[in-house]
């Protein structure tokens, strides 16, 4: 069109552009062809699990030549939001790792595929082989939505030597013994040392104590808070008491710069924490101190107590086009041998009893306390609002620990806030009963 020529006619233009068009068309065909040839499964996994699970994929792809797995890593901090936005935008993956407290939330969105039919035909995945409390975290209103992938619970890390110096040969078995030991430790060690570390901004410690009670945390099918029950008040009293008697320091975990070194220095004898700390203590404490620490199951009000059923599950999204293949991937990741490999790579504990028979786990005394407690873990209420409720629980418990609220006031305040959070859920449940067509699970 330079030099004032007339514009090119359409045929000329076409002649110039057709090679490019052809290339684009071929590209499209190639894409389609590729898809039909090998099916691509998208797997979302969070944090370190996302890095490590990619190493397990070549073996799976070798076993299933028709399937290609694309692993996408999400940072834990963004994962929850990313999952919800993906659902809102219709861009969910085929299969994802899901913190097991999020199962109820995504199930409420009808985002997850019920897995019972797959389980019934599966030879690899047997629900009876799983720790029952962990399995229960994947069941919402009687429907199974996920298969546990790895587990965690909180229990006692303790200093054997310090406990012995205070006159005790064994870790506590119930709350009475535990209180007695903490009082003795405090009397023995003086003002700048503590019996236990309970960071005031972590909800897991109080939640562990609360789950040990017979009273459920929510009542009437998750319609109202049940924090004014005798059980929760007993747990809160025990929790707050440790701070009031200065057996636990009033610190949040951002103020404790290095809990491992301080544990090594004997600033506190008990540390209520999770499985990842086995690795941290082995890595961070000097060799001379490795014989001084051990783990013990959580003591309960009367004998061995329950604990949190933490960890992650694997779920399949309802709008996945490759559900059968996704289930094959779940079966693969649930094999005892693969779970043992996963434990070796990362230290994430397996949810199946058969996976615990591997040498690395069965010969590790620090892991055995977890094995015992995992038989007794209990799920938290399967309502979508749970995470919000437990956040409020800890904010109020921290105020009670600081002495701003009494136990009764804190429990009442907590019930009031919980009832407000659950208002919509109550309306939903009543609405659903009035109109059975609504909210029906297909």
């Amino acid at each position: 069109m330079i030099h004032g020529q007339r514009p090119m006619r359409a045929s000329h233009r076409w002649r110039r552009w057709w090679p490019l068009t052809l290339v684009l068309l071929c590209g499209l065909c190639a894409c389609r062809h590729h898809e039909e040839d090998a099916q691509t499964l998208t797997l979302w996994a969070m944090g370190r699990e996302g890095e490590v699970v990619a190493q397990l994929m070549p073996a799976f792809e070798h076993e299933h030549p028709g399937i290609h797995v694309q692993v996408q890593q999400l940072p834990w901090k963004e994962a929850h939001q990313k999952l919800l936005t993906a659902f809102a935008g219709g861009t969910t993956p085929d299969i994802t790792q899901l913190g097991n407290t999020w199962v109820a939330e995504l199930a409420a969105l009808h985002a997850l595929q019920p897995l019972q039919p797959y389980l019934e035909q599966s030879r690899g995945v047997q629900s009876s082989d799983y720790f029952p409390g962990i399995w229960a975290t994947n069941v919402v209103d009687g429907t199974l939505y996920g298969v546990p992938w790895y587990v965690d619970t909180r229990l006692l890390f303790y200093r054997k030597d310090l406990l012995k110096a205070a006159g005790f040969d064994a870790p506590p078995r119930d709350w009475a013994e535990w209180s007695q030991q903490m009082a003795a430790l405090k009397a023995h060690d003086g003002a700048d040392r503590y019996a236990i570390l309970l960071p005031t901004n972590e909800f897991e410690q109080l939640l562990s104590l609360a789950l040990q009670q017979d009273d459920p945390l929510l009542r009437d099918g998750g319609r109202y808070g049940n924090f004014e029950s005798a059980g929760f008040k007993r747990a809160l009293t025990f929790y707050v008491g440790m701070f009031q008697r200065h057996e636990a320091p009033l610190l949040s975990n951002t103020e404790v710069s290095n809990p491992w070194i301080e544990f090594g220095r004997g600033v506190y004898t008990f540390y209520l924490s999770g499985a990842w700390n086995i690795g941290e203590f082995r890595h961070r404490l000097p060799a001379t101190q490795q014989g001084d620490w051990a783990t013990a199951p959580l003591p309960g009000p009367n004998g061995a107590g329950a604990g949190i059923a933490g960890g992650s599950s694997l779920v399949i999204f309802r709008n996945s086009a490759h559900k059968a293949q996704a289930w094959q991937l779940i079966e693969y990741l649930s094999q005892a041998q693969v779970q043992q490999q996963f434990y070796a790579l990362l230290g994430d504990m397996p949810p199946r009893r058969s996976s615990w028979q591997g040498a690395a786990l069965s010969s590790d005394p620090a892991a055995q306390a977890f094995r015992m407690q995992l038989e007794r873990v209990r799920p938290t209420p399967a309502v979508p609002e749970w995470e919000r409720i437990v956040t409020e629980m800890q904010l109020i418990a921290a105020r009670a620990a600081h002495g701003e609220l009494t136990v009764d006031q804190a429990a009442a305040e907590l019930d009031q806030r919980t009832d407000a959070i659950l208002e919509k859920r109550r309306w939903m449940l009543d609405h659903r009963q009035a109109d059975p067509a609504q909210g029906h699970h297909p």
Binding site: H80, L84, F87, A88, A108, N201, E255, S257, K424, M428
Partner: protein, 293 residues
Amino acid sequence: MNSHHAAWWFLTPALLVLGLFFLLPVIGALALSLTDYDLYALANIHNLRFVALQNYWALLHQPLFWSALGNTFYFVLVGVPLSMGASLAAALLLNSPLARIKPFFRTALFAPVVTTVVAVAVIWRYLFNTKYGLVNYGLAEIGIHPMDWLGDPHWAMPTIIAFAVWKNFGYNMIIFLAGLQAIPLDLYEAARIDGASAPRQFWHITLPMLKPTLLMVSILTVAGYFQLFAEPYVMTEGGPLQSTVSVLYLMYEDGFKWWNLGAASAVAFVLFVIIFVVTTLLLKLSRRGEDAA
């Protein structure tokens, strides 16, 4: 077609774009703030309820909202004067006849504005690290005890303010520089002949002549600083003890962490009203000053 009609035709594209991408979303958000749009409504739109002003009512009864509002005002009241002071000082230095290699300094001082917040925040987190940070290292050299800048509820907000001021002062500096260069030099010459000292010249010539610029910059900065979000999001995640939760951060948590978009829209509108009132007051105040003068 008369000229009046023609004007409207010329305006149409702009009005359409504004209406589609600004007015419509704003009306949508206002409507959303009158509902209880949440996770259940996302699953099934039949679960949406009209709640009138309940979101606003609940917000006013939420202690975290008031502490977030307090944190935001703290940030604005300390951050805006500091930021404008730094901008003006830098602009005066750059405008001084004594300054050398001006283009270099102008670019260097403007650089923080065009860098990404997240990348810079990583560096600042290192600088203010309790154990390994350069800041605490420097303080130790002059005998001051190391401080937990981002972990201590009392120091986290000042650290965020320092970060925001450093990140943003370059932008206003450029505007001030333009304002300074527009002041006729003969005014200074006359003042010098009358024997006015440099501070007096600044007080009686520079500041009055800069007044329109100052007003515009203060309105823009106040409106911008009320929308504090990225700095606490990348530096502290609202902590420690929720001491850096701003109003916008609260909105983000309500909306995208708990997915209560109805409540989050209400927060957004409350913030809008606050910014609107404050900027209107600023305008009124400056007009009254003009009338008096």
